[in-house]
Structure formats: C-alpha cells, structure tokens
Amino acid sequence: MTKGFVLIDVLSALLIAAVAILLTLSSIALAARTAKLAKDRAIQLVSTRNENVNKRETVFSPEKPEDENFKK
C-alpha cells in the first residue's frame, strides 16, 4: 500500500482529540460551577448561623420545687 497521506485517518484522529478536549473543558466548567455553589453554600451557612444566634436568648430555668404538693 503506497497510499501515503490518508485524509480520513487524520480527520478521525483529530475528531477524537477534539472530543477529548471538549470533555476536559466541560469538566472544568462543571468544576467552576461547583466552586461557585460551594461559596454560596458557605455564605448561606454563615447567615443561618447568624439567624440562630439572633434567636438565642438567655433562659433561666425555674427552681424545681422539692415539695410534691407544691401545686396544691
């Protein structure tokens, strides 16, 4: 076989390489989205903790009466 340069072979190799590169790029984009969501979640966590802190109040538990007939 003395065909030499086979265009179809080169094209198919390039196509496979292009698919591989596109897959890599899409995974980078997905990682970026995940990182953004992680930051939003962290900020949300802080605001939830702030709300919990705002709700918290100092509560003094009443003294428990030793006498069982206290209510009467």
Partner: protein
Amino acid sequence: MKTLKNEGGFTFIEILVSMVLLSVLGITIWAGLINSQGLIRKIISEASTSAKILQLDNFVRQYAYKVKIPFWEGKIKTEGGKSSLAIPYLNAECEDMLMFKTSESMLLIGSKKTGQFNAFGPFDDISFQLWEGDGEKPLGIKLSISTGKKGNDQLIIYARFGGNPL
C-alpha cells in the same frame, strides 16, 4: 499479485470541506481553552474564599463565646479605634482582652494577654464593632467583610458572647 492503489485521491471540494470543518473545530477549541483559563482562576478564587469564610466564621464564633462578661457589668469599656477593637473579659478575666486588628487587608484576631494572633484574609473591606441588641447591652461582635473583588459580596458575621450583662 493485486495491490490496492487509489490513483484518484480526494477531490478539491473534499479537501476544502474538510479544511473548513477543521478550522471551525479549531476555533471552538481555541475559544474553549481561553475560557477555561479564566474558569480555572475562578475555581481557585472561589474555593479559597469559601475556605477562608468558613475558617473565619468558626474562629470568630469560638473566640467570641470565650468572652464572658459578668452579669453585673452595665457597659463594658472597649479599646481601640477604627482599625482595632479590644473587648475585655476574654475567658472571664477582666485583664484579658479579645483583640481585632487589621493589617494590610488582613484581619488579626487574638488575645491581648498571650499576644498570639491568627491572621485571616486578605479581604477587601473589613469592619468590626460591638453588636448591641435592642438595648445598649453588648450581645457580641458584628464583623463585616467583603468577599468579592468588586465589593458586592458583603458578608456579615454576628458572633455572640458566652455571657452577657443583664
């Protein structure tokens, strides 16, 4: 012996079409590569910011909880100006103070008594003040930082003291 020999080759149109397809593919990949550089920078920045936020939040709440102001204290006396704040009664000791300082966009938090400070940041805009509730009694610390480069991501942390005056 019969040999495979294609003398015909490809037509000019076929080569032209394949070149157009290749160039479209190449331009797409080139644009994707350029875009991915920005995305990678964004990933590093966002992940780093998330870690810094969580680390700072945990540390501030943990340290603020160690401030235990006696219930008979009416108004505590803080020290410092715009770039620093010192709050007494860290670990329920009058002499020990919880200190907040800023230094070159870094936030330093630590104890005045031990002199050990932890650095957080860098943050674009840092401000801290006493968090006073409905009355004038201090409830904790209000810490405000900017997490975005444009200053639009303002994060406020309310950290409550372990003990408050009545």
